[in-house]
């Protein structure tokens, strides 16, 4: 284990945390967009109630990824920033509009028309952001992005766009929507809980289709991902574990064991992100930048690891407190579990 491997592991761990927390916040926005039926209003209120206190903290994982990347792996950051200029810029627009519109809706004018307008902007950008995030990940893994050793682009600015990145974007949307529906089912009560249970089951099916589409496309479009799915030493155990988590989430949803469903769904999403990371190991940007080649000097990476350690020591208890206050057993209605 070199410091570079540890740092790459930290980036992946932060991405898992981001998917499990920030990803679910985007998923909440997707359910805001898709709110329907007699309890439309209640569904939206629950989403707002669930993500209000935590979305800003959840969002910081992404910033942490950016910071560790440019400190620890500067050519990789340059490579991603230049070759993914278009999707990352659009992602930023999505992130800005999502956060701003959510806050404006929560704290602004309570008239229905105004609320609806902000709501549409919030939920629309909640779809846009994961779509682009998934597309960026898909583009990085597919090997479409070609760069020099310094991370300067050799491929055209449009190289990121292709069938696999698009499928990965759609898959990310399905995955986050699924995760959010399961989380929301835990926090809801009564008929509202049934609403989100049905949504979780539907989104779970979409996740399955999305995974299948990505796997099929990866055969031609992202060989390194395909190899990760099929022929690496850890492929089978990882596939089995992911499949077991998915099946467990479904079974728990069927039996209305929501706490268990949340655990299984989180495990499933976490394993999928880990699987992607393991597949493209040792590449940071396939196929031109490996962890080793993109590493900052050891003199930077070692203190950075220390900083991450100290940071984590303050972060973990704080996060624990945040989630205990708003998501813990004692949290008031309609939270709970």
């Amino acid at each position: 284990m070199t410091p570079a491997d540890l740092l790459a592991g930290a980036v992946l761990a932060a991405l898992v945390c981001y998917a499990l927390s920030g990803g679910a916040d985007f998923g909440g926005g997707i359910w805001d967009l898709l709110a329907s039926g007699p309890r439309k209003r209640e569904q939206r209120d629950l989403v707002e109630h669930a993500i209000g206190p935590i979305w800003e903290a959840n969002h910081v994982w992404l910033i942490l990824v950016v910071v560790v990347l440019f400190t620890g792996f500067p050519p990789a950051f340059a490579a991603v920033s230049t070759t993914l200029f278009v999707p990352l810029t659009l992602l930023l627009v999505g992130i800005v509009l999502r956060g701003a519109a959510f806050t404006f809706r929560s704290h602004g004018d309570s008239r229905d028309a105004v609320q609806a307008r902000w709501g549409l902007l919030f939920s629309g950008s909640s779809v846009l952001a994961p779509l682009l995030l998934g597309a960026c990940v898909g583009a990085i893994a597919s090997g479409r992005l070609r760069v020099t050793a310094e991370g300067m682009p050799r491929s055209s600015p449009g190289a990121w766009l292709g069938p696999f990145p698009v499928a990965a974007g759609a898959f990310a949307c399905a995955l986050f929507a699924f995760l959010a529906a399961v989380y929301l089912a835990v926090e809801a009560r009564g008929a509202l809980q049934e609403d989100f249970r049905r949504r979780a089951l539907g989104a779970g099916a979409a996740v399955f289709l999305g995974a299948a589409a990505c796997a099929l496309l990866s055969w031609r479009e992202a060989p390194i991902v395909f190899a990760g799915l099929t022929s690496r030493g850890w492929s089978l155990p990882l596939q089995v574990a992911t499949g077991a988590a998915a099946a467990g989430a479904f079974a728990a949803l069927f039996r209305r064991r929501y706490g268990l469903a949340r655990l299984a769904a989180a495990a499933q999403v976490g394993l999928i992100v880990l699987g992607w990371g393991a597949s493209q190991h040792p590449y940071l940007v396939v196929p031109d930048l490996t962890i080793e080649a993109a590493s900052a000097p050891r003199a930077t990476q070692v203190p950075l690891l220390w900083a991450l350690g100290i940071g984590a020591a303050t972060l973990i208890p704080s996060l624990w407190l945040l989630f205990r206050v708003f998501k813990g057993r004692t949290a008031g209605s309609p939270g709970g579990t």
Binding site: V60, A78, L91, V96, R98, A100, S106, D109, E150, L322
Partner: protein, 444 residues
């Protein structure tokens, strides 16, 4: 518009926008914690209501600050990938620590804003204190990185590449202390004056209104205190600049020829071609006195340095004059406030004073933006002073103007919406003096 210009405009616009919200994020928690503390200690319903209302405003401003800060983090790479590839490993340390400080700020702000009914009063107040502390810490770390750009340290330059990196040395480059102190004070002064201005405006319409009086008292104490300390920090900065960044000092003072007993230029327009500052009020020996605390000290002029490392003295000097002028006015007003409060043993309420405070409302933020421009324009033509020119740092990606106009429109829209929302919030202030309304506050 060339791609370099577009990149500079885009990054500049993003920062100018973000800085407003970042400064509020640093200072507003202090105001709301003070209000809550007063409210709990003195069992003052007015102060508790004030804390809730300020918290609501902070929620809106902090959210916009958080998302616009994310834009900056990405734009570092999107616009300046070569700068980040060079500087990332050297100054990543303060950025990483800033990431954690921001994490703490977001976490405890969540608890503060949404936890009024969920956590104990003690934990609630403690969360507010942590928000204020981590906000200041964030500003501290980010300013360290900016100080490094003006005075790079902690590495050797070997064939144009950084070698033998010393990240801890880079974290505290020469001149870091004055910049950090100055930035922190500017956040408190600007936010304090802006908040005081708003409440003074309403006090003029409803004299003696307990809610607005309480607000004005706290805002003036924080903003005025910082404004009074800022000239001292400015003096510290001037002396440090003379030592560490003489070119910038010469440019911002419009000082062209090296001389002993250098005069201070108040106002005036520097002409870089003629190498003279015209129409300025000259204070004999003033610059020597300020820069070295010695009326006969020698101050290096711009002519001492090759023309290609000069910043544009006209822009830098004008921005500097705006900052110093407004800062001085704010310090004077703070002094008046202190005198009046001392005599009346209460928050001053004289209509003329309130008018002055209302008028001074935007001054702090204008001064803060001007001061930021002094730092950034004053470092040009370099991104990393003496090491990397801004033109060398820019991305090879074409058509940046499109991104600039898109973000400019986005920021304009967001800015207008924030202003509108805050205006509505403020108008909903409690009607009768001292009557606590039902706590609609921060409940989701």
């Amino acid at each position: 518009m060339t791609d370099l210009d577009a990149a500079r405009w885009l990054f500049g616009t993003s920062l100018a926008f973000h800085i407003l919200f970042a400064a509020v994020g640093v200072a507003m928690p202090v105001l709301m914690v003070l209000a809550e503390w007063r409210g709990r200690r003195a069992r003052s319903a007015v102060h508790l209501e004030l804390a809730r209302r300020w918290a609501k405003g902070t929620a809106i401003l902090f959210a916009v600050g958080a998302v616009s800060g994310t834009v900056i983090a990405f734009e570092l790479g999107l616009l300046w990938p070569r700068f980040m590839a060079f500087a990332g490993p050297i100054i990543g340390m303060p950025f990483s620590l800033e990431g954690f400080a921001f994490f703490a700020e977001a976490i405890f702000l969540g608890i503060y804003l949404y936890g009024w009914e969920r956590v104990s009063p003690r934990l609630h107040l403690a969360s507010g204190v942590l928000v204020a502390a981590s906000g200041a810490l964030s500003a501290f770390f980010v300013t360290l990185a900016n100080a490094w750009m003006a005075h790079p340290a902690g590495f050797d330059l070997v064939l144009g590449r950084p070698a033998s990196l010393r990240p801890l040395e880079a974290m505290f480059p020469p001149g870091w202390a004055h910049e950090v102190v100055h930035v922190l004070l500017s956040c408190y002064a600007a936010t304090g004056f802006a908040v005081a201005g708003i409440h003074a405006f309403f006090l003029r319409r409803a004299p003696g209104h307990a809610f607005h009086r309480a607000a004005l008292g706290i805002a003036l104490a924080v903003g005025g205190g910082a404004a009074l300390l800022q000239p001292l920090s400015g003096d510290f900065s001037a002396r440090e600049l003379a030592r560490t960044q003489p070119v910038k000092l010469a440019a911002l003072e419009g000082h062209f020829e090296t001389r002993r007993g250098a005069p201070l230029h108040v106002g005036g327009l520097p002409d870089a071609d003629a190498r003279v500052t015209r129409w300025a009020l000259e204070i004999p020996r003033g610059l020597s006195l300020l820069a070295f605390h010695d009326p006969d000290a020698e101050v290096k002029g711009l002519s001492e340095f090759p023309r290609e490392v000069w910043p544009d003295p006209l822009k830098v000097h004008l921005a500097f004059q705006v900052m110093v002028g407004l800062g001085t006015a704010m310090a004077a007003l703070a002094l008046v406030a202190l005198g009046l409060a001392w005599r009346a043993r209460a928050v001053p309420g004289h209509p003329l004073f309130l008018l002055a405070v209302t008028a001074a409302g935007p001054c702090g933020f204008v001064a803060l933006e001007a001061g930021w421009l002094v730092t950034e324009w004053g470092r040009q033509p370099f991104t990393i002073w003496g090491v990397m020119r801004t033109a060398e740092a820019v991305t090879p990606v074409p058509n940046l103007a499109v991104a600039f106009w898109a973000f400019a429109a986005l920021y304009l829209f967001l800015g207008a919406m924030v202003a509108l929302l805050l205006w509505r919030q403020i108008l909903r202030a409690p009607p009768a003096p001292g009557s606590p309304e039902s706590p609609r506050g921060a409940a989701p």
